[in-house]
């Protein structure tokens, strides 16, 4: 009988730890899940104001400008239908290029500019961030604009 009580106590302790873990997970999910939006969705005001989210698409060719006295850069992210201006201060990843896919995390400023806190680097040059690819595909499907087919390799990142 005593052994059984003890086992129950241990199961209780296990459930308590699990409960704490679930509480931690839920609260962390509440504040730390980052949702992804395409430029079209941002223009349509689907994206949250004042909360961090991610956008993705292509860096519009010819849109990259640098401030002369700081590390602030401006560029535009497009899904070929809509375009969002982005401002970012810091070093850009090696594989950041005009005309290539990009994913940025940050939040919207009141004037509609996206202030990026992070511009994501990927491991492989042939690799298109899936979010960026999806943004372009969605815009493509809506038939807003035709666009040359995009080559994309399925190489796994290391």
């Amino acid at each position: 009988m005593k052994a059984r009580h003890r086992r129950l106590a241990w199961i209780g302790a296990g459930i308590a730890v699990l409960g704490v873990a679930v509480a931690l997970v839920l609260s962390a999910f509440q504040s730390n899940l980052v949702f992804f939006f395409t430029p079209s969705q941002v223009i349509a005001k689907d994206a949250p104001q004042g909360r961090a989210f991610r956008i993705g698409g292509l860096v519009e060719s010819g849109s990259l400008k640098r401030d002369s006295d700081s590390l602030t850069v401006h560029f535009k992210v497009t899904d070929t239908a809509q375009t969002i201006p982005v401002v970012y201060t810091g070093l850009l990843p090696d594989l950041f290029k005009e005309g290539k896919g990009v994913v940025a995390q940050g939040s919207l400023l009141p004037d509609g500019t996206f202030r990026a806190t992070e511009v994501l680097a990927k491991h492989d040059e042939n690799y298109m961030p899936p979010e960026a690819k999806m943004a372009v595909e969605q815009a493509h499907q809506k038939g807003m604009m035709t666009m040359r087919s995009m080559r994309e390799s399925d190489k796994p990142s290391p």
């Binding site: 899940l33 980052v34 949702f35 002369s68 796994p156 990142s157 290391p158």
Partner: protein, 664 residues
């Protein structure tokens, strides 16, 4: 010709693996010695065949045979020879072949170091490993043939991803796979025990060294990967909670729980069915990790669409292994039985708490890793779960784990008392608290998180020292050497691994608390002060490597006006792919690193030769990896324990151990 020979060897290996997977089990079931004795030679032959196939692929890479598709896609004749060799496992197909090589290698090792095991146990263990081999060989041959030819042959290869052209990347994958795949031995022992319905302390002693060795390699593999990310990705971070990293961390957490649970099973004959379950979970997570990383599922769920056959095969294989072993577990766990009882405060209870916390922490990491995939698969949008989630969940769960870690080794088996633990450890607790409160002041800035982290590290370290001293003192006679020799190697290994955790926590805490990161634009001749050091930019000079051209920067690092050294970070452009690569220059020291990486040239009208640069000061960052290597060292020392080499006397559970130890 050579690639075809490799291909043929793989086909033969599959046949051998089938025989190895089926015949010995039938033999063990019918008690047929002839059938059981197939296991050993089959496992050795399978290893030779897979090693031959691997050698053929490596030969194709080293000799740049671009008529092989895999070589043409992942190598280049201008690569230095050691990277051409390492490119063998730089692709999906090659890495699976490496996996297979490790699996057959572990099975072969089991045949060599198992002279003391009963024949039926060896037969079952090798059969289980043979069946896993069947799955992987079939996967290789039917969906991911590394020897597929390319007609016409390519004149030149596409190059290996520049990020992988690094010495760390040459040894990281084999180490990681040694660990991943090594858990297959523990898994095979567990399944064999379930099949036989017999599991006792002797079983735990067979399975322990294998599990610990696999865990050591996994630890080293993860540490190397983390160090690689630190100096190659140019971001100066050592852990990103990236799904690829998590994929290796999940089996590590489970394996850590397994090592501790096995200790209880060996010493006290309890936790048996739990240990078996952990062994199954650890290997299942290794499989899951391999597939998550290598199938392309992680980059996107939709990558399945690019080659549906691979994705479906992977899911089927996972379902069979996990589903099959869990079904067997459900059916047979009762036969395995529970074990001796123990008090609410005892070493068993501390180890049980260790297991609960590790498994729950593992589950929270698993959830954060899979959640975005599930949401994506359900078409419910795209989300990402980043470091804030993992930090918010993982640290609160592991802090009590580390706190209890100090108590476990000093508590007695079966029944310990809190007052006794208090008497033994009150000084350790006092020293840890006071030092932890004062240390951040000495380091310049007090912060509660730094103080808490330092407390945990000091608490573990001091309590471990106390454990050692008290053990030595309780031996009544003899010289210090005799007293030292009276304890088992596995006990010292445990102490060293625990000190490794303390060292690791010091690194994590101080980097997090005191790192300085500055991104800035620097003109030639400009100086900047970061955390007490002066960095002066002396411009860049072009240089050529074997397969890249580079700009090499020169930064003078000086302190109090005295020049210490010149740091030379590089910005490379790889000629074949045109892909840029950033090579940070790091001044490594016991108390921290100074880290510089080049961003890109800033071409203004005003300044010529200016660059954007990243300057980091990372206090105690190397302690992170030093801690990992100490943990692995502790594991290796534990495995060297002579009781694992002694022939077990039949029916003499729990332990015919020559040394009078209650070692971990």
């Amino acid at each position: 010709m050579i690639p075809e020979l490799g291909h043929f060897a793989l086909i033969l290996a599959l046949c051998v693996a089938l025989a190895q997977g089926v015949l010995p089990v039938v033999g063990a079931w019918r008690n047929d010695a002839a059938l059981m004795s197939v296991a050993k030679p089959a496992a050795r032959l399978q290893f030779l065949l897979v090693a031959f196939a691997f050698g053929c692929l490596a030969y194709a890479f080293v000799t740049s045979d671009f008529s092989v598709q895999n070589v043409a896609q992942h190598s280049n004749s201008r690569l230095p020879v050691y990277y051409r060799f390492a490119a063998t496992w730089g692709s999906h197909e090659g890495s699976l072949l490496l996996w297979m090589l490790m699996l057959s290698g572990w099975a072969c090792a089991v045949t060599l170091f198992s002279r003391n095991l009963p024949r039926s146990v060896i037969a079952r263990v090798l059969a289980v490993m043979g069946l896993i081999g069947v799955g992987f060989l079939a996967f290789l041959l039917f969906t991911s043939n590394p020897f597929a030819r390319l007609t016409p042959a390519a004149p030149e290869g596409d190059d290996l991803n520049p990020l992988l052209q690094d010495p760390g990347m040459v040894i990281h994958p084999p180490m990681l796979y040694m660990g991943y795949v090594g858990f297959s031995v523990a898994f095979a022992f567990a399944i064999a025990a379930l099949m036989a319905g017999r599991l006792d302390a002797v079983w735990a002693r067979w399975s322990r060294p294998w599990t610990t060795i696999a865990w050591c390699f996994l630890t080293i593999g993860i540490a190397l990967g983390s160090a690689w990310a630190y100096y190659t990705l140019g971001w100066g971070g050592w852990w990103f909670w990236d799904p690829v990293e998590n994929a290796s961390f999940l089996p590590w957490l489970t394996g850590t729980a397994l090592i501790h649970s096995l200790a209880v099973t060996e010493k006290r004959g309890t936790f048996k069915s739990w240990t078996v379950l952990l062994a199954i979970v650890a290997f299942s997570l290794s499989l899951l990790g391999t597939f998550l990383v290598r199938s392309g599922v992680l980059t996107s769920v939709h990558a399945f669409a690019s080659d549906p056959a691979r994705g479906v095969f992977i899911l089927m294989f996972l379902a069979i292994v996990v589903g099959g072993s869990l079904t067997l577990y459900a059916a047979r766990a009762r036969a395995v039985g529970g074990g001796a009882s123990f008090g609410p405060i005892s070493r068993e209870s501390f180890l049980l708490a260790n297991n609960i916390l590790l498994v729950v922490a593992m589950a929270s990491v698993l959830l954060g890793t899979l959640y975005p995939l599930i949401i994506d698969a359900l078409n419910a949008g795209k989300i990402s779960v980043g470091p804030p989630y993992f930090n918010a969940v993982f640290y609160p769960l592991t802090a009590p784990l580390v706190f209890l870690m100090a108590l476990g080794p000093i508590a007695a088996w079966r029944n310990a008392s809190l007052p006794d633990l208090w008497t033994r450890l009150k000084w350790a607790l006092g020293v840890a608290v006071v030092t932890a409160l004062l240390l951040p002041i000495a380091l310049g800035r007090w912060s509660p998180l730094v103080a808490f982290g330092m407390f945990l590290a000091l608490w573990v370290f001091v309590a471990t020292v106390v454990t050692l001293v008290q053990r030595l003192r309780s031996a009544h006679h003899g010289t210090l050497m005799a007293k030292l020799r009276a304890n088992s190697a596995s006990w010292y290994g445990m102490l060293i691994a625990h000190v490794g955790i303390a060292v690791f926590i010091v690194g994590v805490t101080l980097v997090k608390g005191y790192e300085v990161e500055r991104d800035l634009k620097m003109d030639v001749g400009q100086s900047v002060d970061v955390a007490g050091d002066t960095f002066t930019f002396r411009g860049t000079t072009p240089a050529d490597g074997p397969n890249y051209s580079a700009e090499i920067g020169a930064f003078e690092l000086s302190r109090n006006g005295k020049l210490l050294r010149t740091l030379k970070p590089e910005k490379r452009t790889y000629l074949v792919s045109g892909q840029p690569g950033t090579w940070a220059a790091i001044d490594t020291g016991l108390f921290g690193d100074r880290y510089i990486s080049l961003g890109e040239p800033v071409t203004d009208a005003g300044a010529k030769g200016a660059w954007s640069v990243r300057i980091y000061v990372k206090p105690f960052v190397d302690w992170i990896w030093a801690g990992c290597f100490l943990m692995a060292l502790g594991g290796f020392i534990a495995v060297a324990d002579r009781r694992y080499r002694l022939a077990p006397k039949r029916k003499s559970a729990p332990a015919p151990v020559a040394v009078p130890s209650a070692a971990d």
